[in-house]
Amino acid sequence: MSNLMSLLGMGAGGIAAQNSGIAVATNNVANANTEGYSRETVSLEALIGPPLAGGVRAGDTSRYASELLASRMRTASGSLASSTASQSAISDLESALTSGTTIDTRFATLFSKIAQASATPTDTVARDAVVQATRDLVTSINGQAADISDARHGADLRIGDNVPQASQLAQQLADANKQVAKTNDPTALDKRDQLANQLSQLVGGSARIDKDGKMRFVLDNGAVLVDGVHAATLTSALDPLTGYQKVSVVDGAMTRDVTSSLGGKLGADLTFRDSTAKTAADALDRLAYDAANAFNGTHATNAALDGSLGHSMFIAPFVVTGAAAALKIDTTLDADSDNLALAGPGTAPGDNTGGMALYALATANVASGGTEKLTDAATGIIGKLGLAGAEAKSDVDRDSMVADNLAGLRDSLSGVDTQEELTNLARFEHASSAMTKFVSTIDDLLTGLIQAL
C-alpha cells in the first residue's frame, strides 16, 4: 500500500511538472507578439528512480537568449536610430532649401537681369527688373538662413526632449538590474535588454554584463551612465556661447560634458545641429557677406543714372557671422532704380560699362575667400547637404540590413514559433493526461485494496 501511495505521489508530481510545461508553452504563445520577449522553456528533471520513488519535477524556467547577440543588436539599433534621425533631419532641411527657386538660380537671374539692363541702361523697366532680382535674392538668402536656423533649433528641441527620456531610461535600467538581482526572472532579463536597447537608440554607447550579473552602460567617451543599480543623470543646459543646449552626465558631484560624444538619435541631432546644418549656415553667411561686398565694391565705383557715384546695392553686413540673416537691399536702390550704377564713372547715362562690370562678377572668383564664383558657392551649399543626405540614406540602408539580419538571428534563437509551441502544448497535455490516467489507475487499485481490507 505504501508503494501505491508513493506511485500516487509520483503521478501527482508528474501532472504538476507537465502542467508547468503547459503553462510555459501557453505563456510563449501568449507573448508571441510581445516586443523583446524571449521564448522560455522549463527543464524537467527526473527524480531518483525505483525502488525509492522516481518521477519528475519541473525545474527553473529559463529563456533562449544570447548576450553576444543582444550586444550586437544594441549597437546595430543605436546605429540605425542615428542614421535614421540623421537622414530625416537632413532631408527636411534639403527640402526646405530646394523648394522654390534656389539661391544659385537667384544669383544667375540677377546677373541675367544686369546683362539685359546693360543693353538698355536707361530703360526704367530693365533697371526695375534688376532691383526686383536683387530684392528676390535678398529674400531668398534671408529665407534660407531662417530655414537653416529653424532646422538647428528643431534639432536642439529634440535634444532637449530626448535627454530627460534617456535619463529616465538609465534609471529604469538600474532598477531592472535590481529586479534581475532579486529574481533572475527571464521576463526581467528581457525587460532589461529592451531598456538597454532603447537607451542605445537614444545615446549610442555600449553595455556589458558584469560578473555580478548586472548590466553596465557606458557612453562612447567612457562616461558611465548605468553602473549596476546606480544610474547617473543625463542633463541638458543652454550653452551661452553657442545659444544651443549642451549635454552632460551628472554623477553626484561630478559633471562631464558629453555633447560631442553621444551616439544614437541624440548624437545624430547633435551632429546635424553642430556640424551639417552649421556648415551650411556658415557657408551661407560667408556667401552673403562676399556677395554684398563684391557687388557693393563694383557698384560704388560706377555711376547711377544721374552720374552720381558711391551707391551700394546691399546694406553690407559688418561681420560674416549672421550675414545671411542680416543682408538687406540698399534702401536708396530699393526706393529708386535710377540709383543702379550701370554707367562708368564720368560717362553719359547711356554708358553701360558699370553694368558690364557687375555682370562680370558672375564668373569672377569673389566667393569663399576669392576661390569660387558666387553661383558655385551657392550651389555648393545645397550640393554638400545633398551629399550628406545621400550618405545618410546609404547608412540607413546598411544599418537596416544589419539590424534586419540580427533580428532574424534573434528570432531564430529567441522568437516564439506558435506551431512549435502548439506541438509542445499537445506534448505536455498528452503527458499530463497520461499521468492523470496513471493516478486514476492507482486510485482504483487503492480503492479496491481498501475495499478488500
Binding site: 538660380t105 544667375a108 546677373f111 553719359a348 547637404l385 545618410a392 531564430s412 514559433d417
Partner: protein, 292 residues
Amino acid sequence: MRVTDHRIVDLSAAATARNQSKVAELSAEVSSGLRVTKPSDDPSAWLTAQRGRVMAALNDGSNQAIQIGHERMVSTDGAISTLSSIVSQARELAVEGANDTQTATSRAAIGAEMQSLFETAVSTANTRDPSGEYLLAGTQSLTQPFDPATGVYSGNATARGVSTDTVSSTLGTVPGSKLTATSGVDILPMLKALADALNTNDTTAIRASLTDLDTAVKQLAQTRGETGGHMAVLESAKTAHDQLSIRISESISTAVEADTVAAASDLAKASTALSVSQSVTAHVLQLLDPTK
C-alpha cells in the same frame, strides 16, 4: 537555422513593403519624368543639372542683351540706309539745282524739297529704340543728338558694348559721330546748307556741295558696312548662345531626367513583384493560421 512563423510573416510583409516602396518610387519617376528630384537622390547628377540651370540663366541674360543689341543694330542699319537714300536724292537735287537752266524760283522749289529731305534726315538720325533711347546718340542716349534746325550733332562718339558672355563684349551701338566731320563730312548740316543754298540761289555753294555729297555717300556706305559687321558678330554670338542653350538642356536632361521606357519597364516588373509578394503574404498568413 530555426525560422519561426512570425519571422516568415515578417519577411513576407517586409518584402511587400519594399516592393510597394519601389512601385511608388518608379511611379513618381514615370509620372514626373525625373530620376533626380532632390540633391540626395544623386548628388553628382543634381550638381551637373543645377550648374546647367545656372549657366542657362546666365546664357539667357547674355542672349537677351545680344538680341537687344542686334535689334538696335537692325534699326541703326535701317536709319543709315534711309540716310544713304536721302543723301543720294540730295545729290540728284544738287545736280539739278546746279544746272544753269534753273531759275531762282525753280531752285527755291528744289530747295523746299531739299529742306523736306533734311527734316526727314534729321528725324531719321534722331530715331529712338523701343525703350526711348536715341539710336545714334553715342552713350548720351537720353538727349536728342541732332539739332532739328541745324542738324548739328550733340551726342558723343562712344559706342555701347554688349556682353556676349561674362568676359567678352562687342559693340552694340553706332554713335552719330560717324555722320560728322570726324569720319568725313558733317552730313546733316551739309544737307541743311544745301537746302539753304538752293533757297538763296547760291549756285557756287550748290556746286561745291556735290563733292561733300560724294564723300557723304561713301561715309554712309562705310558706316553701314561697319554696322553690318557688328550685326554679323551679334548674330554669330546669338547662334553660339542658342547652341549652348541646347547643349545645356541636353546636359540637364541627361543628368536628371528618367529614361521613361526603362522606368516604365521597371515599374511593370516592380508591380508584378508587388502582386506576387502580396499573394505570398496572404498565402503565408493562411498557412500559419492556428485556427485552421
